[in-house]
């Protein structure tokens, strides 16, 4: 009697094989390394011409701020952007992956991507991994059917909302939205409200901080306002800058400019038609 073992290729999705081992190790005091989380405030709202997304810029590793000015608003398509909260690697990887899938889809169909396409691709992936891909996203964009704003939770559920907040600072930001949001906001009113909501998260939540990033998406195009507001500048900076001690003898001075000039040849060369 021979045991026939059929080798099946892995079907994708999360593999639960090591879970028992991890549990056993955790009981013995061996904890897995903590993930770099983006303890965050991310928001989105629909205004009269489209969608405005906002995010803070602090990335935390437990109690330490590891990046004071990271980018949480990720590109998905020319008309779709996505804010990410949760584990930084997960949000980066999942948005990059869906962004490439959308581009291939654009080549295949010859049309502008739709927000619901990005939504479905993201939620299918996240559900497949049963919440282990810890990415909480605010997806917004404008396509032929109009402006759309969605939230996606790590387990794969989605909501369609007029205004949305996610992350540790979501309650502070939601308090601002619930009290001040109304339909048909103009662009400036929308930006002001998003900035207020992110600032509420920055100042009232310990996991969020530093600066405010904004992205405005309309039918005409997008405007990515990186560090639109910097309410936390360095308080004390020395105006003198760094100076070498006075007795240092200068032997040689050589200045190398770090930016090289790039020559652009018009017309010649292969241009990939999109």
């Amino acid at each position: 009697m021979s045991k026939s073992v059929i080798e099946t290729p892995p079907k994708g999705g999360f593999s639960f094989d090591l879970c028992k081992r991890n549990e056993m190790l955790a009981k013995k005091g061996v904890n897995s390394p903590s993930f770099r989380k983006t303890g965050t405030t991310i928001v989105g709202l629909i205004f009269q011409d489209g969608v405005i997304l906002g995010a803070d810029t602090r990335a935390t590793e437990g109690p330490i701020v590891c990046d004071k000015n990271c980018e949480k608003i990720h590109y998905m398509a020319p008309n779709i952007y996505c804010c990410g909260a949760g584990t930084a690697a997960d949000t980066e990887a999942v948005t990059d992956m869906v962004s490439s899938q959308l581009q291939l889809h654009r080549y295949h169909t010859g049309r502008e991507s739709r927000v619901v396409t990005a939504l479905t691709l993201l939620k299918r992936h996240l559900f497949n991994y049963q919440g282990y891909v810890s990415a909480a996203l605010v997806l917004g964009g404008v396509d032929v059917t109009g402006p759309h704003l969605h939230t996606i939770y790590p387990h794969g559920s989605t909501d369609t909302l007029p205004f949305a907040t996610m992350g540790s600072g979501s309650l502070a930001a939601m308090a601002v939205f619930e009290s001040n949001y109304r339909e048909g906001l103009t662009r400036d009113e929308g930006i002001k409200l998003v900035t207020e909501a992110i600032c509420s998260g920055i100042f009232n939540d310990l996991g969020s901080g530093s600066n405010v990033d904004i992205c405005v998406i309309t039918k005409g195009g997008k405007e990515y306002l990186r560090n639109h507001l910097q309410p936390n500048p360095r308080t004390y900076t020395s105006s003198k800058g760094y100076s070498f001690p006075k007795k240092t003898e200068v032997l040689l001075t050589k200045i190398t400019p770090l930016k090289e000039k790039v020559e652009i040849i018009e017309g010649g060369g292969d241009v990939m038609e999109e």
């Binding site: 619901v116 704003l149 909501d159 369609t160 007029p162 309650l171 601002v176 619930e178 009232n204």
Partner: protein
């Protein structure tokens, strides 16, 4: 709900005392209380809901009560413990009145008494499961303080308990200023209570606002807030999906 009468906690370190009971979980709870200082005194708001776990069991619970001549106490958390605290304070005020010396306990003194009570109970691992807000005016001085179930106490221009900490305090930090008028104060409190009504699952749309000034305490009749649900994304969420 677990039947607790004959349960012995596994990690009881005390021998002879191990058959007495300690508060382990709250049963009937009230949600957030929000309060702020305004021009003439203190304004405090709380809804009238008493939840039994995830059911909204009681809808006419008064969670704010006047204490003596100068103070107003609002509580969130276990309702029975709140009633016990009221009983202690009743005794305190009674003894104070019996001195008949023309002096009366002000909000600062009552707040201090409550802090001691809460902290001592927590030290015996038998807490009164409440977050209290104590406001009052005495001799023109406004006072607003809070005590939690573990004895954390402080005094501030605006305080909130429970969910109010996360949802109401950001709004108050941004919009509160000295010398708010009565109407502005009520409008600000209603703004906070509306956000809590939208986003706190244990909130109920029946609230009271209490005012305390040098002249005394007034607790309003219960009323409800107007809510807005007509966003187009709510009415047609699958637009463009088909």
């Amino acid at each position: 709900m677990q039947f607790m009468a004959s349960k012995q906690p596994e990690n009881s370190l005390l021998g002879p005392e191990s058959d007495s009971q300690r508060t382990l979980y709250p049963y009937v709870t009230g949600t957030s209380v929000v309060a702020l200082k305004y021009k003439d005194g203190i304004l405090m708001a709380a809804d009238m809901g008493g939840s039994y776990g995830s059911t909204l069991r009681y809808k006419s619970v008064q969670r704010m009560k006047p204490i003596g001549k100068h103070s107003l106490l609002g509580a969130s958390g276990e309702i029975s413990d709140f009633q016990e605290i009221l009983s202690y304070l009743d005794e305190l005020i009674l003894y104070d009145n019996m001195w008949d010396d023309g002096n009366s306990l002000g909000p600062k003194e009552v707040h201090n008494y409550l802090t001691r009570v809460m902290y001592n109970r927590r030290n015996k691992f038998n807490p009164l499961w409440n977050s209290l807000v104590l406001g009052g005016v005495k001799n023109g001085q406004k006072y607003l303080g809070t005590v939690s179930m573990i004895g954390v106490n402080f005094e501030d221009n605006h305080v909130a308990t429970g969910f109010g900490n996360h949802l109401a305090r950001p709004i108050l930090r941004q919009e509160w200023h000295e010398n708010l008028s009565f109407e502005d104060g009520v409008r600000l409190l209603e703004k906070c209570m509306r956000v809590l009504l939208y986003r706190d699952r244990s909130a109920v749309n029946k609230l009271q606002i209490a005012k305390i000034t040098e002249d005394g305490v007034t607790i309003s009749q219960p009323y409800s807030l107007k809510t807005y649900w007509e966003f187009s994304a709510f009415e047609n969420p699958a637009q463009g999906a088909i």
